[in-house]
C-alpha cells in the first residue's frame, strides 16, 4: 500500500474513518490509539503506527472537542504522520510534526464547515415552513461527504509532501532535523504529563 495510488486509497479510507471522530458514531475507531496499529499494519509497520497512535492519543487527552471547540484533530494528525512516514517514507520526527500541523489545519477547516452548515439548517427550516419535507437524511449525507472530502484533500497533501521529500525537493536543514528529533524524544514524556493532567493527578 506504499505506491502513490495505494497511499491515496489509504488517505481516502482514513478520511472516511475520521468521520467517527466527531461527526458520526463516535465509536472511537478513529482514535489514534486504535487507528494507529490498524493503519500502521495496512502500511506495513504496525509498531510505528502503534507508537505514533499512542503519542497522538496522549497529546489529545487534555483537549476534548466539547461544545463548539475543535482542538487539533488527533485522527487526522495520526493519518498524516503515517502517510508521510510509513514504509520507507520521510523521517518519523518530521512526520509527527507534519501530523500535528495537519490536525491543526483540520480543526480550522472544520470550524469553517460548521459555520457554513448554518445555511443547511436554515434551508431545512425554510422547507418545513413551506410545508415540504426537510430531507434531513440527504442533508446529513451531504455534510458527511463534504467533511470526508476535505479531510481526504488534507491527507493527500501529506502524500504529496512525502513524495516531495523523497525526491529531495524539500530542503532539510540539519538544525531543523535535530530540533524535531529532540521534540519527538520528549513527546512520550509530555504525553504522560498530559495523561496525568487529564486525570487531574498533576
Amino acid at each position: 500500500m506504499t505506491s502513490l495510488p495505494g497511499l491515496l486509497l489509504g488517505a481516502l479510507i482514513l478520511a472516511l474513518i475520521e468521520l467517527d471522530e466527531t461527526a458520526a458514531g463516535q465509536f472511537m475507531i478513529s482514535r489514534p490509539i486504535v487507528l494507529g496499529p490498524l493503519a500502521g499494519a495496512a502500511f506495513g509497520d504496525a509498531l510505528l503506527g502503534g507508537g505514533l497512535g499512542l503519542l497522538f492519543e496522549l497529546f489529545s487527552l487534555v483537549d476534548p472537542p466539547v461544545g463548539g471547540y475543535l482542538p487539533i484533530n488527533p485522527s487526522v494528525a495520526l493519518s498524516g504522520a503515517l502517510l508521510f512516514s510509513a514504509s520507507g517514507g520521510g523521517p518519523t520526527p518530521a512526520g509527527f510534526a507534519l501530523g500535528l500541523v495537519l490536525g491543526w489545519i483540520h480543526g480550522l477547516l472544520e470550524t469553517t464547515l460548521r459555520r457554513r452548515r448554518v445555511s443547511t439548517a436554515r434551508r431545512a427550516e425554510k422547507r418545513l415552513a413551506a410545508g415540504e419535507e426537510p430531507r434531513l437524511m440527504i442533508a446529513a449525507a451531504v455534510e458527511l461527504a463534504r467533511q470526508a472530502a476535505f479531510t481526504f484533500f488534507l491527507l493527500a497533501a501529506a502524500v504529496l509532501v512525502r513524495r516531495a521529500f523523497l525526491q529531495g525537493w524539500l530542503p532539510q536543514p540539519w538544525w531543523l532535523s535535530a530540533g524535531l528529533r529532540a521534540g519527538l524524544a520528549l513527546a512520550p514524556w509530555i504525553g504522560l504529563g498530559a495523561l496525568c493532567r487529564a486525570l487531574r493527578l498533576a
Partner: protein, 271 residues
C-alpha cells in the same frame, strides 16, 4: 393502543422505531452548526417516532419545526434526552387545544434543560474520566506486552481501548433511550438519584492508578540516558501546565521543545 384523532396516532414505541431512533442518533453531530448546534441531528433522530406518532404530514412537519430550535448535549447522553422527548411528545399528541400547546412549550424548555445538564455529566464522565482511563489501561497493556516481546502488543492496545470505552458508552446509549422513554418528565429527579459524581471519581481514581503504573513502567524500562531527559520533560510540562493552565497544550510544549532543540543544535550543544 392507537387512537386516531385528527391525524394523530397515540402509539407505543415499537422495537423497529426504537432501533431506528437509536441508529439515527449516531448521526446527531453530522450537521453540527455554529448557530443551533445539534438541532438538525436531533430532528433526524426523532423523525421516525414523529412519523409514527403523527400520521398526517402537516402535524409531523409542525412537530419537526418545533425541534428546529437550539439543542446541544453529549453524544452518549443524547438517547436519554431523545427518550424523554419521545415520551413527552406522545403525551402532548394525546392532548388537545390549549393544553397541547402548553405541553409543546414545556417539551421545548425541558429538552434544552435536560440536554445541558446531561452534557455536563456526560462530558465529565466520558471525556474527562473514561477516555483518559481507557488510554492509560490501553497504553499500559501495550507497553507491558511490547516489553515482553509480544508482536500483537499494538493490536492488544487498540482492543483494550475499544472494549472498555465502547462497553460503557454502548450500554449508556442503548439503556438511555429506554430509560428516557420510561422516565419522561421525571428524568431530572431520576438522574439526580444516580451516583454520577461517585462514578466519575472512581473512574478517575482507576485511571490515576493505571497512569501511575504506566509512568513507573516507562521510567523503569527506558534506556538510562533517556530516563533523565524524560523525567525532566515530564516535570517541565507538568509545571508549565500548572503555571499557565490551558495555554500549555502538549502540542505547544512539544513545539517549544523542537525550537529549543534546534537552537541547541545551532549552538553546538545537541546533534
Amino acid at each position: 393502543m392507537p387512537r386516531a384523532e385528527a391525524g394523530v396516532t397515540r402509539a407505543a414505541m415499537s422495537r423497529s422505531t426504537e432501533r431506528s431512533v437509536l441508529a439515527r442518533s449516531l448521526l446527531l453531530q453530522s450537521c453540527w452548526n455554529q448557530e443551533r448546534m445539534q438541532n438538525l441531528g436531533f430532528c433526524l433522530a426523532i423523525e421516525p417516532w414523529l412519523r409514527r406518532l403523527y400520521s398526517g404530514k402537516r402535524e409531523r412537519l409542525e412537530a419537526l419545526s418545533r425541534h428546529q430550535a437550539y439543542f446541544n448535549t453529549n453524544p452518549y447522553m443524547a438517547p436519554l434526552t431523545l427518550g424523554m422527548v419521545c415520551a413527552l411528545e406522545r403525551e402532548a399528541a394525546g392532548a388537545a387545544g390549549e393544553e397541547r400547546q402548553a405541553r409543546f412549550r414545556r417539551i421545548a424548555a425541558l429538552k434544552v434543560a435536560a440536554g445541558g445538564a446531561l452534557a455536563g455529566i456526560g462530558d465529565a464522565l466520558f471525556w474527562g474520566a473514561l477516555r483518559p482511563a481507557c488510554a492509560a489501561a490501553a497504553s499500559l497493556t501495550g507497553l507491558v506486552l511490547w516489553r515482553f516481546g509480544a508482536r500483537a502488543a499494538p493490536f492488544a492496545m487498540a482492543a483494550v481501548y475499544l472494549l472498555f470505552f465502547n462497553a460503557a458508552t454502548a450500554a449508556t446509549r442503548c439503556r438511555g433511550l429506554r430509560l428516557g422513554l420510561e422516565w419522561g418528565e421525571d428524568i431530572a429527579a431520576r438522574m439526580k438519584a444516580l451516583p454520577w459524581q461517585g462514578w466519575i471519581r472512581k473512574t478517575r481514581r482507576a485511571g490515576g492508578m493505571l497512569a501511575g503504573a504506566l509512568l513507573a513502567a516507562a521510567l523503569l524500562w527506558a534506556p538510562a540516558r533517556l530516563r533523565l531527559e524524560g523525567m525532566a520533560g515530564f516535570l517541565a510540562y507538568t509545571i508549565a501546565a500548572r503555571v499557565t493552565g490551558a495555554a500549555a497544550s502538549p502540542a505547544r510544549f512539544y513545539a517549544a521543545c523542537c525550537a529549543l532543540g534546534g537552537l541547541a543544535a545551532l549552538a553546538g550543544w545537541w546533534r
